[in-house]
Subunit: 137 residues, 2 copies
Amino acid sequence: MTKLLTIGEAAKASGLSAKMIRHYEQSGLLDTPPRTEAGYRLYNTQQLRQLNFIRRGRQLGFSLEEIHSLLNLWRDPGRESREVKHIAEKHLQDVAQKIAELQQIQGVLEKLANQCCGNSNPDCAILDSLAGPESMV
Amino acid sequence: MTKLLTIGEAAKASGLSAKMIRHYEQSGLLDTPPRTEAGYRLYNTQQLRQLNFIRRGRQLGFSLEEIHSLLNLWRDPGRESREVKHIAEKHLQDVAQKIAELQQIQGVLEKLANQCCGNSNPDCAILDSLAGPESMV
DNA sequence: CCTTGACCTTCCCATAAGGTTAAACTTTAG
DNA sequence: CTAAAGTTTAACCTTATGGGAAGGTCAAGG
């Protein structure tokens, strides 16, 4: 006697939007749920758990493709945790690289912003830098 | 007697792709360049400087919209460096926030990955975390 | 004159992860 | 019975960029 939820209720319960739930289904992340005679999607507790799984995966920045793999591993009793860890470490690498890139940008930008007096004068180190060395003539 | 460049040459010289140069033009970032009788775009030194400006702006992570504003300020002799600095500091804020979000993710992910033994055993802290507290039953 | 290859043109499609809107149908409350 | 709220599909918007098709142009060589 599991309570079946319509998509709006499942959305509220999982913290996802109804639109995204349909999108995940269309992307192959979720099995197509049963429907009422009128065509309304119905979700049970198991599907709700998958929705929460997806939401947590997105919060950790995993792509839908990665979440797809993680979901498949989760559902597979014969999985090897090695595979899960591999996906996570690949993602960790991506995250670390993005952080490094942003920090690089941050460093340059901070230096330039400090050199720009930021008053009514038109001279600006930021624009000079974007304009490149040839504009220093 | 400025040498006029076709879009492919301008692309090579600026480090952008021809595709992107057309896209920037269509987005209103660049003035529509003169054309040959056959319709080929022609770029002069000034336009080339603008292309380099855009490339450097993108390298610093500015959005096309921000670069649009920066280009307008660059071309405006009556600009106030205050406005430039404002855009840069807004972007710096965005960058700092993204770094913080990624570092948060990094922390959680590292902890989980360390708890996952990563062998042929199916048990995995990463999956457990994604599955949520209700699966701990 | 004709071909070939390297350009160039515009237009359409795709990405990731959603948001928004609209027309039509269903369910529920009063 | 009616009105409100929920659902359905579908389509278009976003950002910045890549890919490809179909066709025009140009220069070199036969």
